[in-house]
Symmetry: C2
Subunit: 450 residues, 2 copies
């Protein structure tokens, strides 16, 4: 028998609980504030947007939350997801390091997003909601919610950033195949959208604007709620099934990670893999370095300010204490659309402030070089977002080659690039640059923050 | 514990041999003929195109062929592939039938094609070949060979039908990401291509023309061989790992198929799943109905002639005894590009003539309706090709609903539609018709055959 390529859990061994990291932290994260009163918000403030079950999960102090059987049933369409040992990449690099990747591209839409879309659709359906609204950029989150809504018989209405709506029709077609309605944002359908279009009829939109439109619609329309694909506590909670599975798979492998790397946009992919390992670290059962990777074009953790800011452009959301570049910051149009968010999960931000994780920003050229190397050795063409983590992983493996260290590296491969292939085309044609954020642009954007 | 959604084999249980159905048939298939002498061709006739190992596999009478360890090592990047029980589809249909699907979309390129691309690249590399040429239509086969060549350090040169090259840039980008060179066909690079362009400078190409270009290049260029993605015995041999795995998975499920449905273009997906079950049927160990599904636009088995014909347009290949619509037949541009081949695997054709399998042609509207229903229940958006089998599967399940029969249906889900989403867009917009082949067009095309 050859050495193993992948570690697969049986369906019966799929974790039946999500993990909430908050009770294990030395102190709790600062609460969201009402923008008018600047007092901590309560459940009633969130009720127009979210069902009670999700509001309860947002603020729970329980360490574990049971995964409903109906959600597990849908998860089993692709979960448990595989943990791979990247033997062919290791060989190509000539490194003594052992590289593992947890692959979420096996989901119906090709990323980790359905891990939270499915429970969000389930809890809304269970409370009688008929329709969900959301925003999406490149479309990973929108297609995940479209799939989840199809599964539980909900209508799904998506505002997609117009630049992506026009340039990336495949994601829109995926959402429509799952039965969703997709609008380009800004749209004439909401006051937020109309205000933007009045000021700039040719606006190509932004994630912050699309959030404003979806939130506004959910707050006003009957029997309609809003769903967010990252940033919030309950979203990260749902994603912890990734890390819980990975822990079991490392047991099968008889190995323990020394370094864990994941990319961060809103933080849900990173948190999903990292939090269960952070629990083990805090309990003294292992001691991995945990490292967040972000694009140099949108360096929230490494160069943003830790301050209260809005989650959207129009200022309709509560104020969140997070690392932010300013809620009207619009990053360069890098291909890693999922990492182009001005803020960061408040929970990840808090954990970063506590010194429990590291962060590093990286340019686009190294990312795509890593993506191509990975594709040609491991066969999977990684989405632009996780190439940030892969580039860091390869750097670490090459350091090991110099030092001779047999480090164990774990990376979150949160999706494939089937619908992002033009990004690889641009890289192969030499049309990718690093897009590092200029100091003066950053300073100007941060100046507006408290 | 809930009922199982999928049956996963451990890597250690991956079959280590391919199955050759020929020795188990009541009579062997008619041999390929040299177009000049009309005598059976020998190994020397194939040597300019294929390595010795593959020529030996093309004519072997051994029942089993060992899978080289190097090939198994690459297979393990995605194999064993899952066998799913389509419980959510069953529930939506309200059928007492039990529906299973063997899913090949988990491969790096999203289809079953790498099952043969990998061994083809391996045997060529082992015999010192430096470069492979091939043709591709929509691009599934070209991207599989590009991936396989990257794995074994071979150059890969692909002639892609110009209509697809222009309309479906994502597949070309995938091939290029794996390191392949892609030419639109017809091209100025070959005599075959130049002849077509001289007659019709605006030619958008065909699979037959692209085969001519790739074969011509392989026969002339140094240290270069040709690779074919379907039709031939060795290709179907490699694909039998699908059926061998499925047999083991049915043992895990404690079930036995009554009906097996698969789509047929060149025949490799269908043969790959069906042949191991046909062995069991011939040995009296089970008795499934085995049914091939083809598009009404290209009804090779159901309306073609069983005759000796060329595999390509220019007449560069040996003559193959097969069900054919004529080697210059150009089917309507249906979205199931993989089913638009004028001929059929000689082995499948022979088995059909022996009465061991059934065949049925189906229109495009039923196919896409089945694809959408499947996506919204099972989460996977099926490639246009396997929607033919899914439509038949759903018909069978609905018959069971009427009769109350608890039939067990197995279908080959050979790939996903991530790079075919515009086809779903056309269906949702009402722009899909059945494309049944008119009698007079068929009669004219068949008139040229012996």
């Amino acid at each position: 028998m050859a050495e193993r390529t992948k570690y697969i859990l049986d369906e019966a061994d799929m974790p039946a609980r999500w993990y909430n990291v908050i009770p294990d932290l030395p102190e709790p994260p600062p609460p969201p504030l009402h923008p008018g009163t600047r007092e901590p918000i309560g459940p009633d403030d969130l009720a127009p947007l979210f069902p009670q079950a999700l509001i309860a999960q947002e603020v729970t102090t329980e360490r574990y939350v049971d995964i409903p059987e109906e959600v597990q049933d849908v998860y089993r369409l692709w979960r448990p997801s595989p943990l791979f040992r990247a033997r062919r990449l290791e060989k190509a690099l000539g490194t003594p390091a052992r590289i593992y990747y947890k692959y979420e591209g096996v989901s119906p839409v090709g990323s980790h997003k359905p891990n939270t879309a499915v429970p969000q659709a389930f809890y809304n359906a269970a409370e009688g909601v008929a329709r969900l609204t959301t925003e999406t950029g490149a479309g990973q989150w929108g297609s995940a919610l479209a799939f989840a809504c199809a599964t539980f018989g909900l209508e799904c209405e998506v505002w997609q950033v117009r630049a992506s709506y026009d340039q990336k029709p495949y994601r829109k077609l995926m959402m429509e195949t799952f039965g969703a309605t997709v609008h380009p944002s800004p749209s004439e359908l909401t006051a937020s959208g109309r205000a933007i279009l009045a000021a700039d009829p040719g606006s190509t939109g932004s994630l912050g604007i699309a959030i404003s439109e979806a939130v506004e619609q959910a707050a006003q329309a009957e029997n309609t709620r809003y769903a967010l694909g990252s940033v919030l506590n309950h979203v990260l909670l749902h994603q912890t099934i990734i890390g819980e599975e990975a822990l079991k798979q490392f047991e099968l492998a008889g190995d323990t990670p020394d370094v864990l790397v994941g990319c961060t946009g809103g933080g849900s992919n990173f948190g999903g893999l990292a939090f269960p390992f952070l629990r083990e670290k805090l309990a003294g059962r292992m001691d991995p370095v945990i490292r967040a990777l972000e694009p140099a074009a949108c360096p929230t953790l490494t160069r943003g300010k830790y301050a209260y800011d809005f989650g959207d452009t129009a200022g309709l959301t509560p104020l969140l204490k997070m690392h932010t570049l300013g809620h009207d910051f619009i990053p360069d149009p890098i291909h890693a659309g999922g990492l182009r968010y001005h803020g960061m999960s408040p929970l990840i931000s808090h954990i970063y402030e506590l010194g429990l994780i590291e962060a590093l920003a990286i340019g686009q050229e190294d990312c795509f070089a890593a993506g191509v190397k990975f594709a040609r050795t491991e066969g999977i063409i990684p989405a632009p977002e996780p190439t940030h983590a892969l580039a860091a992983c390869i750097q670490e493996a090459l350091r090991c080659k110099e030092t001779g260290e047999e480090k164990v590296i774990l990376t979150a491969l949160c999706g494939h690039a089937h619908l992002d292939l033009p990004a690889y085309g641009a890289y192969l044609a030499g049309d990718i640059s690093d897009h590092a954020l200029p100091d003066e642009v950053l300073a100007k954007s941060l100046a507006g923050l408290p």
